[in-house]
């Protein structure tokens, strides 16, 4: 944390990628808060367009929402002077958390759609049924996933000088 006390008025403070990271962080943070609110019963599940927050399960929505909040905060904390190693690391860590949640969401869906429906006599799902299961709506983390790929750029700039 010792690098947090960076000079507030540093000219390099705000960069284009910094703005991108800050926006991403804000959205992630908001999603995390909504996850928890829906779980807590403020509204019984939200579905807007291709976004769905079921909020039916403590583990997925309260715990998972908490992680999204942390991810958002990490990104926000790292968004100023983002090109420095210390700050980039925070953003990358935030990205990794979002990837973890998105990854487990996708994995869960994959696992649930390989076998056939409980009622049907077959063991494996049909191919069309398998593909159809990946149609929207998606969870917030999965939706965010493509937008977080910009973080790979941060990893790249710090990894290349380490041959």
């Amino acid at each position: 944390m010792e690098h947090n006390e960076s000079k507030e008025y540093d000219e390099q403070k705000i960069t284009l990628i910094g703005i991108y990271v800050a926006l991403l962080g804000l959205v992630t943070l908001a999603f995390g808060i909504v996850d928890i609110l829906v779980w807590a019963g403020v509204r019984p599940g939200i579905e807007v367009g291709i976004l769905a927050i079921a909020g039916d399960d403590f583990f997925r929505w309260a715990w998972g929402g908490f992680i999204m909040i942390c991810a958002g905060l990490f990104m926000l904390a790292g968004s100023t002077r983002v090109a420095t190693l210390q700050q980039s690391a925070k953003v990358i860590l935030g990205g990794v958390l979002v990837w973890l949640i998105a990854g487990t969401d996708i994995f869960a869906r994959l696992c649930a759609t390989i076998p056939a429906d409980e009622a049907s006599p077959a063991f494996f799902n049909s191919f069309s049924g398998f593909i159809a299961a990946f149609a929207p709506p998606y969870t917030p983390a999965v939706l965010l996933f493509p937008f977080t790929l910009g973080i790979l750029y941060l990893i790249r700039i710090h990894d290349t000088d380490d041959s």
Binding site: F66, L97, T104, F107, A108, C111, P115
Partner: protein
């Protein structure tokens, strides 16, 4: 060989003449080490890399704790998706309940006979949980439910171990674990114990003092459910896993705290050596996963089958009914669970996963289910754990068992008390 030769290395060497070796003081040795490294090792200009910074972030509490929560989340999520949704519910339940059980029931002769009872179980059962025969429930529990759980658990655990995250978790947990007489490194036996208590008991050797090892072993035997048990809990009572785990974690902390106060001895501070992160080597992960899973198959599957055999024989001989009547006052008035849970408690000595499978078929209220599952978990280590604990020292084992009985009695009562207060018991 340096027989009786005096050496003077910057005046710090104390050369002690021995029969055929020379003994230095540790200062002198360090001085030699310094001299040698000065001659042979050169340090280039090292740049702090991204990996190092990320490594630091995962041990600092402010960022490290959320990461630990996320790691736990991913662990459990993958565990339930793979073992629960995909393998067990997706394929195994369908196969065992839809094909295997009806086939066994139709093929095995004479549903009224004792051998039908032993091997196939209840002729009217629709599911492999209810049947409780060696070849129906036994195979279903060990291969259909527990094997996928253990497999995916070991995969995740191996990744945690090989990446180097485990020692960082140790650093994070250090201050918490000091409260209960342990230190950060106790996280290693705890995590191993979530897979299987057997290697976990051996792993307590990395703790320094007798006190620490005793506390750790007792807590492992009491409050840490193994992977097989987690797998079966997730499968038969998915909604209650959270509350059961909460009971166990609270018990772990309370009794750890008490044991720390009661047992004399020290709890020294340690310096955890944190290795750098690296990508797990594929072949190592595969090899380790294979060994551990095979180890499970070789040891656990026969035990599950044997356990069902023993329990069924005891039922046939009327022993369990007798014990149930005898222990009824304790179970019903003190723990608040039905007397039928005596049977699973006996099975729990052989395999805990089996005991929970058996519990799930007894009609009970939610409170009774939670209480009996917690009791099964804490009441006695399974045979395999018992044997390794014996190997680590019989005195400690006896003391641990004494503690265990006291704790089961007290904690069982506490849970019942809370249940009464909440109006659910």
């Amino acid at each position: 060989m340096a027989k009786g030769r005096h050496v003077n290395l910057s005046g710090a060497v104390m050369a002690v003449e021995g029969a055929d070796a020379m003994v230095f003081s540790s200062d002198a040795r360090w001085e030699m080490v310094d001299a040698i490294t000065r001659e042979t090792v050169t340090y280039g200009t090292y740049k702090y890399t991204l990996g190092d910074v990320l490594g630091d972030l995962t041990v600092k509490p402010l960022t490290g704790i959320p990461v630990a929560f996320a790691a736990l989340y991913a662990f459990w999520s993958v565990f339930t998706s793979f073992a629960g949704a995909l393998v067990t519910d997706g394929f195994m339940v369908k196969f065992f309940d839809g094909f295997w059980l009806p086939w066994m029931q139709s093929v095995w002769p004479d549903p009224a006979s004792w051998h039908y009872f032993l091997f196939v179980g209840n002729p009217a059962a629709d599911t492999c949980f209810e049947a409780f025969g060696m070849l129906t429930s036994g195979l279903f529990v060990s291969i259909g439910v527990v094997l996928p759980a253990v497999f995916v658990f070991y995969l995740m655990m191996t990744l945690l171990e090989d990446s180097g995250y485990l020692p960082r978790l140790a650093v994070l947990m250090d201050s918490v674990l000091h409260r209960i007489g342990l230190h950060g490194y106790a996280i290693v036996p705890i995590i191993l114990g979530l897979g299987c208590n057997v290697p976990a008991v051996t792993a307590t050797r990395i703790l320094e003092t007798k006190k620490q090892r005793f506390i750790m072993m007792t807590l492992l035997a009491l409050f840490i459910p193994c992977g097989a048990q987690l797998g079966i809990m997730m499968s038969v009572l998915p909604d209650l896993v959270g509350i059961v785990m909460l009971c166990l974690i609270v018990g772990f902390c309370i009794f750890g705290f008490i044991l720390n106060k009661v047992i004399p001895g020290e709890n020294p501070e340690i310096l955890v050596d944190v290795p750098p992160y690296h990508w797990p080597v594929k072949e190592y992960v595969a090899k380790k996963l294979w060994n551990r899973t095979m180890g499970f198959l070789k040891e656990a599957v026969p035990f599950v089958l044997f356990g069902i055999l023993v329990v069924n024989l005891l039922y046939l001989g009327g022993v369990i009914q007798g014990l149930a009547n005898l222990l009824e006052p304790v179970f019903v008035t003190w723990f608040g669970v039905p007397k039928e849970t005596v049977g699973p408690l006996i099975a729990a000595f052989l395999r805990k996963d089996l005991a929970i499978a058996q519990l799930s078929t007894i009609p009970m209220t939610t409170y009774q289910m939670v209480a009996s599952v917690v009791l099964v978990t804490i009441y006695f280590p399974c045979v395999a754990t018992f044997v390794v604990m014996l190997r680590e020292g019989w005195k400690e084992l006896i003391a641990a068992i004494a503690v265990l009985f006291v704790v089961v009695f007290i904690y069982g009562g506490i849970i019942h008390g809370i249940g009464i207060l909440l109006g659910v018991a």
